[in-house]
Amino acid sequence: MKRRNFLGMAGMGAAGALLHGFPAIGRSITEADALMIRADAAAKKRMADIALQAARSKGATYTDVRIGRYLNQAVITRDNRVQNVANSESYGIGIRVIANGSWGFAASEKMDADSIAKTAALAVAIAKGNAKLITEPVQLAPQKGYGEVSWKTPIEKNGFEIPVKEKVDLLLSVNDAALKGGATFINAALFMVNEQKYFASSDGSYIDQDIHRIWPTFTVTKTDKASGKFQTRDSLSAPMGMGFEYMFASPEHKIIGGPTTLYKGRYDMLEDVKAATMQVGEKITAKSVEPGKYDLVLDPTHLGLTIHESTGHPTELDRVLGYEANYAGTSFLTLDKWKTKKFNYGSKLVNIQADKLQPGSLGAVGYDDEGVQSGQWDIIKDGILVNYQTIRDQAHILGLQASQGCCYADSWDSVQFQRMPNVSLMPNKQTRSVADIIKSVKKGIYIIGRGSYSIDQQRYNFQFGGQLFYEIKDGQIVGMLNDVAYQSNTQEFWNSMTDIADKNDYRLFGTFNDGKGQPSQASAVSHGSSTAKFEGVNVINTARKIG
């Protein structure tokens, strides 16, 4: 089953939710099957060599081969029942070539030698056909071959090895706690992904990778029959590039002392749902916000999505160049802004880094999907735009000698293209706590959790909501607010950032299915930050009355 379909079947909200689709594509597997499926790198190397040789013999000047086995599990519950337990597997080969200066791609789930050779030949034929409709040949950054290497997500507990019953029991106990706490409805789910990816290229790389991700989530709903009102509160978990150990939080993983407990590196789902059940009731009667200018204190559970939309996407070089113009859009960060090395993106406190190695992050891999080793680099330094995100056929545009390793495909049968690495806001180098920041605010709102989000196709104008809104008056949190959304312009917003907490508060936010490309593909990515303050941001009241 493709991950985008696996996510679609849950029917639960997720970032960039442009991706839907069911029934699933691929084979479903049982728990026992999942444990038996193990990569055999030698066999995959033999298959890859067949493809490499077949493509070369048909005239390819470059070839890469991805042999992928994608395992997914979704456990989905509502109230006191299990709605679905779905294990799935998708396995096949994708072959990408350059021939006559043009890209070609073909994929097959048939893994015998003859089918692989035919698929390689088809990729070359498509490349030659496309060559009639290109304006300039593909220019690929040089990349050394690594030989036979491997990389694994450093997990402690493989989620696929945990019995389904244990996961069902956990979710049903979450639901039970919510219902006992007065929730009207509760949906809870657990999603797990294991990408077993083998990459080989005509550069001489044979890269075997085993990647794991996990996402526990819930939505609590409370209705008030008398007023006809209802409210929801989503889980404050971050999806992570971790194993099942993520579900076991100790006291050192909790940030206590604010209006709700927040989590760092591990997650306590049962504790969070109890808090959510109380808060969703408060939300029904919370004061509706007075529109106007406020200082915003944004928690990483919220700020991550703002970082994603307003710094991650606009610095994708394919958008800057116009490759996404028909779908996800272009970018206001045109090359001339980067060339000046003076473009003022934000205040001097704004330091945005790309990092494909960040432990626990969704985007952490050893190598990208065109065989480039992962790294770390600055995108915005002291408020100035200094770099973008590139892949091999873009590197020359920036005068780079090598790709930055941002290539990804969500399945063996999807063509790889430029996707965002983990993009994060660096914490304050000086000691600074969240309590210090809140104390410094006279009239403000403290926002926790992701809500409604929307940004324009060049990433200027945005509007974001959240899960929990707390009014700050004269340095104190005084109560909960409702109907809050803030609107700003990307550059103005990041220039209004006047404070940020230090590394002790630094946490990861994540999204499992960021959509981009045609046909649309999903990718998973994390964004780290500490709690930050933005001064004088325009807040609107979103309440309306319907007849």
């Binding site: 679905n84 088809l122 290109i134 206001f332």
Partner: protein, 445 residues
């Protein structure tokens, strides 16, 4: 071969059911063959072709159900997938909402399969894209677009003798044309079952014209305006409303159809009396599935008549619990097929502009997200051609706006409806709406 005939599909499914030992077994079989070509910066970037055939088995012992799917079709694999589903069913907890399977029914033959669309090749697609590229190159503009076609079938059979089969094709084309200075942008997006109705040259000319005429947009103050929404913009806004016509969420108090104090708003005048919405899987412009995922026939249904909500979709479980009649939903959503069809008038967009004293013409919206589930207030932006109208004429292009608006409020503020056309999975008229709320401006082009 991904597209199996009715007989071929039935033969496989009978074989699968022959392996079943569960109390009840349901089998789904589907296949699709699709191809695409993508271009940007006036050149092709990627192209591909994909073929898939999948079988799903759902086995139940009492109220315990297990599901398994497979894409291998030898006898051993077919038996294996049945055993897997049965093994999972034995492990699964009881589902209190389990409904016994339905028996045979007379489903209408779907009308959505057009052989010429199924027969498209990479060369056909490349030729159609070449016509689009010629428009942008000839006019010194830059285009980015996507063309995709697919042919597929779905079949369903169960141990109570039900059998259903549908076949369909689809072709979609979208193109964004921008001027070289990056100050103007235009867009078109159309879908058809029949590729003979798709003219990439003519559609690209429309996008090119918008790209040119939208250059140099002026800023005007956000606020409440009369808007003329082209069908694409109208379908962007109304997608969420059709999914709200659902009995269970309304009864449960978490829908705009929920009534204060309990109950639903079925039968209430919720919209302007000009609003009439149906779904019909046999509509030749928008053919849909004639049966739903739980084996119920999908038939022509009136959802809104003269502004009054006449029906709510209802699952078999909820219908039994509430003593209602089950009803498949519209929009290809949870319970059924057949997209939303909204009636209109005979006026063209040009006619509607002539009737407008002051207003904004919107080509499309972008990045629409729900802000409030209770009122369906959504936010999003205009994109690819937004124009100011005064005294019956387009006066100048305007900068894009962000809106915060509810489609329910919108359908109460209808001034005029034009001639309906297909837009994606809906047929909708252009709409003239008063007091549409724009809350801020965007510099994005």
């Amino acid at each position: 071969m991904a597209i199996l005939s009715k007989d071929e599909a039935q033969a496989i499914m009978k074989k699968v059911l022959g392996f079943a030992k569960a109390d009840e077994t349901e089998v789904g079989l589907g296949g699709q063959q699709s191809g695409n070509i993508r271009y940007a910066r006036n050149a092709v970037s990627t192209a591909g072709e994909v073929s898939n055939l999948n079988l799903s088995v759902s086995s139940s012992f009492g109220k315990r159900t297990g599901n398994a799917t497979i894409n291998e079709f030898d006898d051993a694999s077919l038996e294996k997938v049945v055993r897997r589903a049965e093994e999972l069913a034995r492990l699964a907890p009881e589902n209190p909402e389990y409904m016994p399977l339905l028996g045979p029914s007379n489903f209408a033959e779907s009308i959505g399969f057009i052989p010429s669309t199924a027969a498209m090749t990479p060369d056909t697609r490349a030729e159609m894209v070449a016509k689009s590229l010629k428009v942008s190159k000839d006019n010194k503009l830059e285009s980015a677009g996507f063309l995709q076609n697919s042919a597929g079938f779905r079949a369903m059979a169960n141990s109570k003798g039900l059998f259903a089969y549908n076949k369909s094709t689809d072709v979609s084309f979208s193109v964004t044309v921008r001027n070289q200075e990056g100050t103007g942008s235009g867009y078109v997006d159309h879908s058809f079952n029949d590729v003979g109705k798709l003219d990439t040259l003519a559609l690209t000319k429309i996008a090119a014209n918008k790209a040119t005429s939208s250059a140099g947009a002026k800023a005007i103050e956000p606020g409440r305006y009369t808007v003329i929404l082209e069908p694409l913009a109208a379908s962007d806004m109304l997608g969420g409303i059709i999914r709200g016509f659902e009995q269970r969420t309304a009864d449960e108090g978490r829908s705009f159809m929920s009534k204060k104090g309990g109950g639903t708003r079925l039968g209430e005048q919720l919209f302007d009396e000009k609003v009439n919405i149906i779904s019909d899987p046999m509509n030749p412009e928008l053919p849909g599935a004639t049966w739903s995922g739980d084996g119920m026939p999908v038939e022509k249904t009136v959802w809104v008549e003269n502004g009054v909500v006449k029906n709510l979709a209802c699952s078999r479980f909820w219908a039994q619990k509430k003593g209602l009649k089950p009803l498949s939903g519209p929009g290809g959503g949870r319970f059924g097929g057949g997209g939303m069809i909204m009636a209109g008038g005979t006026a063209s967009i040009e006619d509607m502009i002539k009737n407008t004293e002051k207003g904004i013409l919107v080509t499309r919206f972008w990045y629409i997200r729900m802000v409030d589930q209770q009122t369906l207030v959504q936010t999003g932006l205009t994109r690819d051609g937004t124009f100011y109208i005064e005294n019956g004429q387009i006066k100048f292009p305007v900068k894009n706006f962000r809106f915060n608006e509810s489609p329910i409020i919108m359908l109460n503020n209808v001034e005029e409806l034009g001639k309906p056309v297909r837009s994606g999975s809906s047929i909708l008229p252009p709409m003239k709406i008063r007091d549409f709320t724009f809350t801020s401006l965007s510099d994005a082009i």
